[in-house]
Amino acid sequence: MDNHKQPNVNLKEVFFVNIIRENPVFVMLLSLCPILGVSSNFVNAISIGAMTGLVILLTNIVVSLLSRIIPNEVRIPVLITIIATSVTLMEMLVHAYIPAMHFALGIFLPLIVVNCVVFGRAEAFAIRNKLIPSIVDALGVSAGILLALGLMGFIRELLGTGAIDLFGLYFRLFPEHFAIPLFIMPAGAFIVLGMIIGIIFSVKMMKQEKQDGLLKNKSVTKA
């Protein structure tokens, strides 16, 4: 694997590209299990996002350190073993130290092991990059996931219950009987996710059209 390593990567680019432009959830449509399952509530969404981020960080570090000795032919089983180990580790730690969070997230905590983002980052980035870029990449992806989950949780809790609980900071936007319970149901997750993806893609297309228009104008003036 050594000759595959890319020595020079722009760290700033690696970090920021994952937040909006290649957001793992809204653009690449990965990590949909926690997005659809746990985002009915802001606190839970942020918790599962943070846990996923920690797992990505751990696996990226381990994989990029071990990438020299992992044979290319068996890299997928090895990566899966590493991911499963770190998820189990995280789950045990959470169970021991934050039992409330373990209770609230339930099955979705061990389900991080099947989260595509974790495997995707290990396979696509960490195994062919050095330690520091891998850490930066993990942080960027975590920030992207946290942003997506936080946004979804915020919108769904606010519209679904009329109030929002920001880790103890509690405020109410409108009375509960005006709330739309559809948004905290699974169907609401699909609607909100689709809306956000639609907005992001239409903004992207508008930008693209603008760029194309400028290019066309330039070529016309040149001719």
Binding site: F178, I180, P181, L182, A187, I191, G198
Partner: protein
């Protein structure tokens, strides 16, 4: 002898989308007016005023949603003033037929629904059901059915507030308490007391706004068929399938002929059959496909009625069948080559299968 000759296209009748939508709108307005009057006669001015408010709210919301959407959506043209922009937007908003969607939706909602729920349901129906897909003509799902389902799911708990307007309606009790399987004498007594067939037909039973106007719906059906706006086979096959299936189910429960009639005339079944199952955009293109659509629509409606506790099955079944419309269209697309007896055989097999499935599932689960 002279033959009058004109170059093609040879226009047979002056039918356009606008014409179709205006005719449907006229029929809907007639149904709305009739149901408001019936509400006034049967339950008093309170109900009538509430019904008027619900209908007006839905219409206004749908219109505002359309205008807002086209104000935000850029079309590459730059307008200098807001007035100019609004002027360019208005025809587009009118073209989306917001009033048809809003009226179908409002007439399917119960009188007791709070007005903000009407607003939310209409916005969902217009925006998610219609505008996102590219406007009327491109929508995959019936926008009014989207609104009805959203209202039922999102406000299921608050849609029946414990006030004077709507306790549990008799239909809701039949649906949720008896699941339409009226076996005990108590259930028969309940129906005799609260919703005799005459009461139901003339709208003396509380329920959706438009449900009160069953005679008007039938008149509107005749009018729309006469104007060739809707295909008569869809409501006829749909209601006929429901009738035959519930006749069999009624005899299984040892009930009389009133049972299938109760099924046909209760809830928004007839309203949905006339105004939602015949929507030209979200139903199959040719007649064989439409008959298949109507048969399986009846099947899903009955399965939901017999096995779920929802009062209204029409919204769900219309949406479910809308999903299969592209498939039906593809399978029945080549109508000129297939033989008439083959088409008839397919329809007969489908009809028997649908009734068998509906009754089999209901009896097995019940």
């Amino acid at each position: 002898m002279r033959f009058p000759y004109k170059p093609s296209p040879h226009i047979k009748a002056n039918v356009s989308t606008t014409h179709v939508l205006h005719t449907v709108l006229l029929a809907l307005l007639f149904v709305a007016a009739w149901s408001i009057v019936i509400q006034y006669i049967n339950f008093g001015a309170d109900y009538a005023i509430r019904a008027v408010f619900i209908i007006l709210t839905a219409c206004a919301t749908a219109f505002v949603t359309d205008i807002a959407f086209y104000l935000i959506k850029t079309d590459g043209v730059k307008y200098t003033t807001l007035g100019e922009r609004l002027k360019a937007t208005l025809p587009k908003a009118f073209k989306e037929a917001p009033l048809v969607t809003a009226l179908i939706l409002a007439l399917s909602l119960p009188v007791g629904i709070p007005l903000y729920a009407v607003i939310v349901a209409t916005i969902f129906a217009e925006f998610i059901g219609k505008l996102i897909f590219g406007g009327v003509g491109s929508n995959l799902f019936n926008p009014a059915a989207v609104g009805i389902v959203i209202a039922g799911l999102a406000f299921g708990s608050t849609i029946v507030p414990p006030d004077a307007y709507a306790g549990a309606t008799p239909m809701a009790t039949i649906a949720s308490h008896y699941n339409w399987r009226i076996t005990e004498a108590v259930g028969v007594q309940f129906i005799c007391n609260h919703c005799s067939l005459g009461h139901i037909f003339f709208g003396a039973v509380r329920g959706g706004i438009g449900e009160a106007a069953r005679p008007a719906i039938l008149i509107a059906l005749v009018f729309l068929i006469y104007k060739k706006v809707i295909d008569w086979v869809v409501p006829v096959v749909f209601v006929g399938t429901v009738f035959v299936a519930t006749l069999i189910f009624g005899s299984y429960l040892c009930l009389g002929l009133w049972y299938p009639v109760l099924h046909v005339f209760s809830g928004s079944l007839i309203f949905g059959a006339v105004f939602m199952a015949t929507d030209p955009v979200t139903t199959p293109v040719n007649r064989q496909g439409r008959i298949l659509f109507a048969i399986f629509l009846a099947m899903i409606t009955l399965i939901i009625r017999f096995n779920a506790t929802h009062t209204e099955a029409m919204g769900f079944s219309i949406l479910i069948m809308n999903m299969f419309v592209p498939f039906i269209d593809r399978k029945t697309g080549n109508i000129t080559t297939s033989k008439p007896w083959a088409k008839a055989a397919v329809l007969c097999i489908a009809w028997v299968c649908a009734i068998g499935l509906a009754l089999g599932i209901s009896i097995m689960l019940g």
